[in-house]
């Protein structure tokens, strides 16, 4: 029964993503109905972009940075000044500088790390014009970059990767927006509020007066899931009954977390003109996802005997139970989404281990929209380079050689993960101002630290709730690390794409290193595990692994 539900979920996911990829291929290829093309052209003219002009990787990266920098400045000012701006029925004041910095970075980098509580600290204007807008464009940025990177690997020899403004516009207008409208309507039907009126004051059955926060939630939640943003309208995110009222809304949101990342695998295969290439990447991701999900499921359903028989229900909504919480937890950490429907801090140690690994390897198991695919292509490049020599040719992927320049860039991109997680985490584990955030002592506290810094580096956004990430030290440090985790990968990946597209494509022969099929999938999984996960094995040993072995010995933290 449980297995059937999971299989049904995966089948629905793959089916929908496959269909979506067909549409996405048309969107990015410009094969749209002429009415849409005219609308798009009008909008681009308005913004002053020259859509016909292709961009070399440097220009593309500059456009990404310029656009995101502008977004950051606007959002930062908005958050600081929200108290004086309209659409603020609950009269909420502006955010402190460090929190505004953290929040602005968080939403611009598609992380949606929430050091604030939405309903208490943000006005409707900040939520709608600030965060929801960023939910769209930060997701659109990731998708545009992914499409540019794909072109670098698969398109005919040339110099340009496409036009950022066109790719961004198309991602938002023709993919994110329509999907969000459908999902938002569905969620509103299931009971998620979408209103501009302020909080409701009601007297409950216990006779106490309570303030029930509400607002324009459905729209933001739809895009928070589809765009792997994860920043909820309410502080407790999708565990809140207004964000996620029913089993149906829960399933729809679980699906939409992974929908676009999975579709990107298919899109890759389509654009490469060899769908097996997309399937291979998807298979590698799926193998790791299912393995992780299985661990989380078993841990959560079995529960902690020290606390009595039954599943581990601490920090979980009774409505969803262990299984739906496990599925959500695995999906949200795999996909760099970061929304939660249960409190990850309360999960079993090995579940925490899985979630940490999913984030530490760089959010490449499906990953963020677009970001997951270009992150995985980084591992593909490394896997091909390491093992490709074993067929007696210098390594090549999709006919293009991987040489010194690409390896240098890949190593640079790869370094951002240990830099953010290990260096950031090490400082957080020693500096007293940072240590104050730890709620539990011992290995679980270590997991909390690691989780926060892995989440920021991987642009995930979820957290172990016990960790006091609102301290000025962390809002600043995590903000910087979110920037590192986003742009220290985007820029080298675009550079790799720019270098690849200049190379001739060797035709496929029986001497070509096969990059599809079970053998390559195994190789790719092993590369991710050995290069990605092993880097963090020592710290994992001190966190969740130590916690688990202690738990087995009857000790708890």
């Amino acid at each position: 029964m449980t297995l059937m539900s999971y299989l049904l979920y995966l089948a629905a996911l793959v089916g929908l993503a496959w269909l979506l990829a067909v549409w996405m291929a048309r969107v990015y290829g410009g094969a749209l109905p002429s009415a849409l093309l005219r609308a798009e052209a009008a909008l681009l003219r308005l913004s002053g972009a020259v859509p016909a002009r292709g961009m070399a990787w440097g220009a593309y990266a500059l456009a990404v940075l310029a656009f995101n920098a502008t977004c950051f400045v606007v959002l930062y000012l908005l958050l600081r000044a929200q108290g004086a701006l309209p659409l603020n029925p609950d009269a909420i004041g502006g955010l402190a500088p460090d929190l505004a910095f953290n929040t602005a970075v968080s939403f611009v980098t598609n992380t949606n790390w929430q050091a604030y509580s939405g309903e208490a600290q943000l006005s409707y204007l900040s939520q709608m014009a600030g965060l929801t807008v960023q939910n769209f464009v930060s997701a659109g940025t990731g998708m545009a970059v992914a499409v540019a990177v794909i072109r670098g690997f698969v398109a005919a020899r040339g110099t340009t990767l496409g036009n950022f403004w066109v790719d961004l516009t198309r991602s938002v207008l023709w993919i994110l927006l329509p999907l969000s409208v459908v999902l938002a309507l569905f969620l509103a039907w299931q009971g998620v509020p979408q209103t501009l009126q302020g909080a409701v004051v009601a007297t409950g059955v216990e006779g106490q007066e309570q303030v029930i926060a509400r607002g324009p939630a459905a729209a933001q939640i739809a895009i928070k899931q589809l765009g792997t943003n994860g920043g909820g309208f309410f502080g407790v995110n999708s565990a809140h009954p207004y964000e996620n009222p029913t089993i149906a809304s829960n399933m729809a949101q679980s699906l939409s977390i992974l929908l676009i990342p999975v579709a990107f695998c298919f899109l890759f295969g389509r654009m490469a003109g060899d769908r097996r290439q997309g399937w291979a990447i998807l298979a590698a991701m799926a193998v790791m996802f299912v393995a992780g999900l299985a661990v989380v499921h078993v841990c959560e359903v079995a529960g902690n005997p020290a606390l009595g028989a039954g599943a581990n229900m601490e920090g979980k909504e009774q409505r969803f139970g262990a299984m739906l919480s496990a599925l959500w937890a695995a999906s949200t950490t795999a996909a760099s989404n970061g929304s939660v429907n249960a409190m990850h801090d309360s999960f079993m140690p090995l579940s925490g281990f899985v979630m940490l690994v999913f984030m530490q390897i760089g959010e490449v198991i499906f990953g963020g929209v677009g970001a997951g695919l270009y992150g995985m292509l980084l591992y593909v490049a490394l896997a091909v380079f390491l093992a490709g020599l074993m067929v007696g040719r210098t390594p090549e992927y999709l006919g293009r050689k991987i040489e010194g320049r690409e390896v240098t860039l890949a190593v640079l991109a790869f370094l951002s993960m240990p830099l953010g997680i290990l260096v950031g985490g090490a400082v957080a584990a020693t500096v007293p101002q940072a240590l104050a955030a730890v709620q539990e002592p011992g290995p679980h506290g270590m997991s909390e630290i690691l989780y926060a810094y892995a989440s920021a580096t991987g642009n995930n956004g979820s957290a172990f709730g016990g960790y006091g990430a609102a301290l000025p030290w962390h809002t600043t440090a995590l903000g910087i690390i979110m920037l590192l985790g986003r742009y220290a990968i985007i820029i080298p990946m675009l550079a790799i794409a720019g270098s690849m597209i200049r190379k001739p494509q060797a035709p496929v022969t029986s001497g070509t290193f096969p990059t599809h099929g079970p053998l390559f999938v195994t190789l790719l999984v092993l590369t991710v595990v050995i290069l990605g996960a092993l880097t963090f094995f020592p710290v994992l040993a001190l966190g969740p692994v130590a916690e688990e072995t202690a738990r087995l010995a009857g000790q708890s933290f």
Partner: protein
């Protein structure tokens, strides 16, 4: 191929290699190999800390120094591998250097001056453009081009081939190499290389590895290894912070040991040895690579352009069948064909006699007082007139018809047509005025080439046959040899076009050539192999030179290139897969004090934290030296498709690399405990 197996006396190389591995500890040299440099730094640091503890009388100093010793050994083993690889080249360079000697030579004012008028000078003083007269028994003092005379030259000093070769002015055999000896006659040579820049000098530098530059793939791999080292540096330097949070401290020496076992020392230590050994394998095959890049490119080749003559066929047409006319006994035809060819010394004639011998079981001896009739362009016939008046002739069909005045029977005429259509050459045999039958002369494809091409196809390499034959003949031979494509009536321009076309499709092309007119194509090809006997222009344009002047060598070069790349990839994969076991050895050892539960990670059941750390370090050093022979010899390589190669190598070096260290570390741990060393 016995001349290729110069059994270099390996045993003599070891003492020199051991001395070299210590000399290579010089930081200025070590710096060129970042992974090993880092290992040496850690080893030095561990030594200093160990000595400090020893002097302070602290416990554990012995273990520290023990670890330090194995870290130093790891560096020395890597140096040893490189020194051994270089040593083999050096041995060969020394024999080459022996042929370089200062002699007195006769310089002429102009090419056609009388040798007697020449002035004597030292061979080392020769300059480009001077003319030198070299007589029989004298050494050729410098690289040059024969401008006058014909001589047989012994080139064994360079090629190892003891049979002398002909060098003559003009044509494609005019190039001479300094250090070779004129055996008979004399030559006037125009010097083409300055002293110190001759072919011999270049060869010495190459085999010695003095001019060795890292190849593109080697550089890229080095960058990755440095990157991995940097990542593990981050892992190790941040670990004390996490450990202190957990309430434990990790000794610096243990951190150093963890660091060295995690960084890719195995491949880092063997990388340059693999490269040098790969070049050495080429040298053993008597091919000189002008750059390492060409060897790497050889592994990537997609299309091989092969000359028909000498590579695919024996180069001469040979009798393939004797076809009697209707009513003629096959023995009678064979006898007549043999008699008509007895006096014919050409390979074709000999092959007809051989074919007749197959039919008859023996051939008639040359009859007494028989008169040979030689082939002329007018008659286009050759044969024998016997003393008894009988005459035997063989020749082109129309010539024999004119001679006999008879038209061959219809069945025979059909056979003759069929032979011509199949790309062969039909000859008719006549006894007096009787046409007895036909001889089918054809290009004979060398045995084994068909299988060789099938292997190449499995490896994804396309073969294209280049021939001056007409398309009909070319197609027939191409089909028989199993090449993928052919270029008939080929001119140098057509070759160049073909290469450009292949390259435009993203393919890498290899070819070999010897004539001056091959130079543009050799330069255009990604891998160009020039025959040593070829012209200086061809040798200049190519990036590989085959000293044996054997066109089939091209295939060997491709295989050497592939083997080099596979060896590199296999050891890289092995090295990185090793890390898993090392984590399981060291992590429980360093954390078990803080969290006793983490002892569960000690899945190998190592005796104690100290023995676990020491075992990992010892394994790390021993695996490096254990793999030296593999690095020098190259990974076993059988031609197969990429998928099959990947499956096999991933299983052996990937899975093997995962499992083996678990076994090895456990065994070392047991040994250390048994020896009471930990």
């Amino acid at each position: 191929m016995s001349k290729h197996d110069r059994p270099a006396d390996m045993s003599g190389l070891y003492p020199a290699a051991v001395r070299q591995s210590i000399a290579k500890l010089d930081p200025r040299i070590l710096w060129r190999n970042p992974v090993m440099f880092v290992t040496a730094v850690v080893a030095g640091m561990t030594t200093v800390l160990g000595l400090r503890d020893l002097l302070a009388g602290m416990p554990g100093a012995g273990t520290s120094l023990h670890i330090a010793a194995w870290l130093w050994l790891c560096v020395l083993f890597a140096n040893f591998a490189e020194a051994l690889a270089e040593g083999r080249g050096k041995a060969r360079a020394d024999t080459l250097r022996a042929t370089k000697s200062e002699t007195r030579v006769r310089v002429l004012g102009a090419a056609d001056d009388d040798p007697a008028t020449g002035s004597e000078t030292l061979s080392t003083a020769l300059r480009t453009g001077q003319f030198v007269h070299v007589a029989a028994g004298e050494n050729i003092p410098a690289d040059g081009e024969a401008v006058r005379g014909v001589a047989s030259v012994n080139e064994s000093a360079i090629t190892g081939e003891s049979a002398p070769v002909i060098r003559e002015a003009g044509g494609d055999r005019s190039s001479v190499t300094g250090g070779t000896t004129v055996v008979s006659d004399w030559l006037v040579i125009r010097v083409t290389a300055e002293p110190g820049k001759s072919f011999l000098d270049r060869m010495i530098a190459l085999v010695e590895g003095a001019e060795r530059q890292k190849t593109p793939n080697e550089i890229a791999l080095n960058i990755l290894l440095v990157g991995l080292t940097l990542i593990f540096l981050l892992v190790v330097v941040t670990l004390p912070a996490f450990a202190s949070y957990a309430g434990t401290t990790i000794p610096v020496i243990v951190l150093g040991a963890l660091f060295v076992t995690l960084i890719p020392t195995t491949i880092g230590g063997l990388l340059s040895a693999i490269g040098i050994a790969g070049m050495d394998r080429l040298v053993k095959a008597n091919v000189i690579a002008k750059s390492g890049r060409a060897v790497e490119a050889a592994g990537d080749v997609d299309t091989l352009l092969l000359d028909k003559t000498g590579t695919i066929t024996f180069g001469n047409r040979m009798a393939d069948a004797l076809i009697p006319a209707p009513g003629v006994d096959s023995h009678r035809l064979a006898e007549a064909a043999a008699l008509a060819s007895l006096a014919d010394e050409t390979p074709e004639g000999k092959s007809i006699v051989d074919k007749a011998r197959e039919v008859l079981g023996g051939v008639p001896a040359m009859p007494p007082r028989a008169e040979a009739v030689a082939f002329t362009a007018q008659t286009r016939l050759s044969g024998l007139n016997l003393a008894d008046g009988r005459s035997f002739r063989k020749g082109a069909a129309d010539a024999v018809i004119r001679l006999t005045g008879k038209i061959p029977p219809q069945a025979l005429a059909r056979e003759v047509d069929a032979i011509a259509r199949s790309g062969g050459t039909p000859l008719l045999v006549a006894d007096g005025t009787d046409i007895l039958g036909a001889v089918h002369l054809k290009d004979i494809v060398k045995p084994g080439v068909r299988e060789r091409f099938a292997e190449l196809r499995a490896m994804g390499i396309r073969t294209v046959m280049i021939t001056g034959d007409n398309p009909l003949t070319a197609a027939a031979i191409a089909a028989e040899a199993g090449v993928d494509d052919f270029l008939a009536e080929a001119t140098p321009e057509m070759k160049l076009d073909l290469i450009r076309r292949e390259q435009a499709g993203g393919r890498l092309v290899a070819m070999c050539g010897d004539g001056s007119n091959d130079a543009p194509a050799l330069a255009q090809a990604d891998v160009g192999v020039a025959m040593n006997a070829g012209t200086p222009a061809a040798k200049e344009a190519a990036n590989l030179i085959d000293l044996d002047s054997d066109p089939t060598k091209l295939i060997e070069v491709v295989l050497v290139g592939k083997q080099l790349l596979i060896s590199r990839g296999a050891l890289t994969t092995f090295s990185i897969a090793n890390d898993v076991a090392k984590y399981f050895a060291i992590l429980p050892a360093i954390f078990v004090a803080a969290y006793p539960g983490l002892g569960a990670l000690n899945i190998m059941g190592l005796a104690s934290p100290t023995s676990a750390i020491l075992s990992a370090v010892v394994f790390n050093a021993l695996i490096l030296v254990a793999l030296v022979p593999l690095a020098l010899r190259g990974v076993a390589y059988r031609p197969a498709s990429a998928a099959a190669l990947l499956r096999r190598n991933l299983l052996v070096y990937g899975l093997g690399g995962l499992i083996m260290p678990f076994v090895g570390i456990k065994a070392i741990d047991a040994a250390l405990v048994a020896l009471n060393l930990a």
